[in-house]
Amino acid sequence: MTGKRNSGKDGDPGDSGRPDKDKLYVPSLVEAQAEVSAKRPRTDRDAPKTEPSAGSRPHGGQRLATLAEADATTEALYARHKKVYPRQVHGFFADLRVLMVALTLGTFYGLPWLNWGADRQAFLIDLPGRKFNFFFWTFWPQDLFYLAVILILSALLLFFFTAIFGRVWCGFTCPQTVWTEVFLWIERKIDGDRMKQMKLARQPWNGEKVARRTAKYGAWVLFSLWTGFTFVGFFTPIRELAQAAFAFQLSAWETFWIFFYGFATFGNAGFLREQVCLYMCPYARFQGAMFDPNTLIISYDEKRGEPRGARGRVVDPKSQNLGDCIDCTLCVQVCPTGIDIRKGLQYQCIACAACVDVCDTVMDKMGYPRGLIRYTTENALEGKPSRILRPRVLVYGSLLAAIAVALVVSVLLRVPLDVDVVRDRNSLYRETNEGWIENVYTLRVLNMDDRPHRYRVSATGIDGLTLLTDVERLAIETGQVREIAVRLQADPAVLTERSTRVTFRVEAEDSPGLIATEEARFLGPGRL
């Protein structure tokens, strides 16, 4: 990702904005980039705004300082994890996130309990039965194509929303964010808010700490197990699973997945939290490719805020030569990834807008206008107009619309009948005693419809082609596959090629339009 807009801040800011050593300090890429750009030849866009010190920097293409020449003070190559204690925040975006948590988790925990019809789980991925219930549809492994399209669609949706709104996915709907939000809520209910949590962490192990820790981890574990249970409920009928769970009769695999998924929830949402975003998530790293100056980002308005500093509520900041930032550091305290948004756009920022909410409350208290930290675009920050419709968005949007329409149409037109033709491999062809050339095939017919059908099989492609089979009535139950051996006989006189294309056609006798065709080769001696 880029942080070009911040490259002019070389002279400053760090020292006042940087939290002290024992607080969490994540060196930001943007900050680092600022240092680089300070050592590069300047361009017009990079021109310093106010800092007098910047002018004194060398202008030429100076070599950057390397490790060997660096400061003698050293630290280990591995940094200990410093727990982030995000302060609770209220406001529009916090409410929006609660709403999204309710929606996404409500869907996750509720969906498996939903039935479609009397005894059919509406959403069930039946792996042993190799079918997927999706409300009134049933999909088979042959329909895997649709899954691929849905995945492509999801990726495009992500690109589309990222190009316009930035990392809203991260801040409001990502499972990591959503589950962490619930775990934070539990933590707050048991330990209290940020200050109490930090105090509890510092204090020695006494009765209170043991009690609170037991309560917290216990609640986390219960919630995690419920999560694992629900996850397994997507793959095995959840009502039966619940009965088995209460009777302690879960199968080995069910037990494994409940505990494995539960453990992953417990670890990711309870402990790893922002580490997942920082060190594991690929999306955090490649999102930069989808950003442009018109993309919504969360940004601190440096022009308005600087120079920052504490001041009384009644003092006119201009008289003190101060900007609107009162340097209360609340934006740092609420940040779930522990960064300082005032240092500019950083890859750690998940765009959760907690800093926007908290800064707005502070601005309200101070009587300043809201929006010192706000959703904005790089163009808007520079005073240029922002455009929503731009080639990138139009391309993503039209691709998205085209694929979505194609998916819906193809699902609606889907024929719930599948035919595979397997040609016998034991011989190329055989001559019957009557002098015909005969090829043998196995037809695998799958009835994907929700009721049984009777089918008729025919073949075309060669004049006078005869189809023989032992199965007189090809009746197939719903969801069943039947294999039938089929012989095709042709007159060698009309076979001009060694290999001729033939087409098998399977159609339901009892339901017009339910037709599947499949091509195969008919081998013969060729022109004699």
Partner: protein
């Protein structure tokens, strides 16, 4: 360990393994004590104008992951074969796992097969479920020669036409599957000469009602009675005890063209049906025999139902 003729390569692997583990541990311990400047510095690489490489610290839990990986490796090599010299605490082997799975399948499916084992073959042939099982067995073990429709192919008998080389009674079919058959047609080219072979072929084709040269066939008939009748019978109807085919029914194992018949007489034929008794076991052979019987005895099988 039997893959090698001496212990050299086993120890070669083991020593490499020990050295690798020692090296990895040393490297990680060394790196865990490594130092970097307290201030995050650039490594001196810049791309695209403002994308720079920095020596940010790695999170500590990454270091733990390295250790966990190494410990996992050691535990794995203690449990499973892989260290070259030690077979592992679990005594695991590929053959052992295969045997275990076979035993499990045997225990699960054995009773299904055994259910039909004691029944009369004709009754089994009339049983739908038995036929489905038989068909699956047939598709696995028989189709590669006899075809998925059991129609056979050049040199492989058709199993559905009611014509049998060794007899079509259920027990005879079962014997064929279990013990195999060896069908030998000797080569008569040297004894008969080119003309003799041609004449005999004309006669043989005439037995199936083909249009032939009457003079040649008459000459061939003489030779046939001298030589061929010993196995195929004076009337050419064959002998199932020997597996000598019936030559009068226009069913041709190796092809019914005159060319093919001449080749058969001149060079002889060797047909071999492998024995499956030991390989498949009595219960499966029983089901297969019933299925094969049912192919050419549909009405009877259905009537028996």
């Amino acid at each position: 360990m039997a893959d090698f003729t001496s212990g050299f390569w086993n120890w070669y692997i083991f020593i490499l393994l020990v050295l690798s583990f020692a090296f990895c541990f040393a490297l990680i311990i060394w790196m865990s004590r490594g130092k970097r400047p307290a201030k995050v510095e650039t490594m001196g690489h810049v791309w695209d104008g403002d994308l720079a490489e920095y020596n940010n610290p790695l999170p500590m839990w990454w270091l733990y992951m390295f250790y966990i990986t190494l410990v996992f490796g050691i535990v794995y090599l203690l449990l499973y074969p892989g260290s070259g010299v030690y077979g592992g605490l679990l005594k695991w082997s590929g053959v052992g796992q295969w045997q275990k799975e076979v035993d499990r399948a045997e225990a699960k499916f054995g009773p299904l097969y055994d259910k039909y084992r004691g029944q009369d073959l004709k009754a089994v042939a009339a049983d739908d479920e038995a036929n489905r099982m038989g068909r699956r067995l047939y598709m696995t073990y028989c189709t590669s020669c006899h075809g998925s429709d059991a129609g056979g192919g050049p040199g492989y008998p058709n199993l559905r036409d009611g014509d049998w080389l060794y007899g079509g009674q259920p027990e005879q079919i079962k014997t064929t599957i279990a013990a195999g058959r060896l069908g030998v047609m000797p080569a008569w080219g040297a004894m008969l000469g080119v003309d003799g072979v041609l004449n005999v072929s004309e006669y043989v084709l005439s037995l199936s009602g083909r249009k032939v040269n009457a003079d040649a066939a008459a000459a061939g008939k003489e030779k046939f009675q001298q030589i061929c009748a010993a196995c195929h019978g004076a009337d050419g109807k064959g002998n199932q005890a020997l597996g000598a085919p019936n030559l009068t029914d226009n069913v041709w194992l190796y092809g019914g063209s005159q060319q093919a018949v001449i080749k058969t007489i001149t060079e002889g034929r060797n047909g071999r049906m492998p024995a499956h008794g030991e390989f498949l076991g009595e219960a499966k052979v029983h089901l297969l025999a019933a299925y094969v019987y049912s192919l050419s005895n549909q009405p009877e099988a259905k009537a028996a139902k």
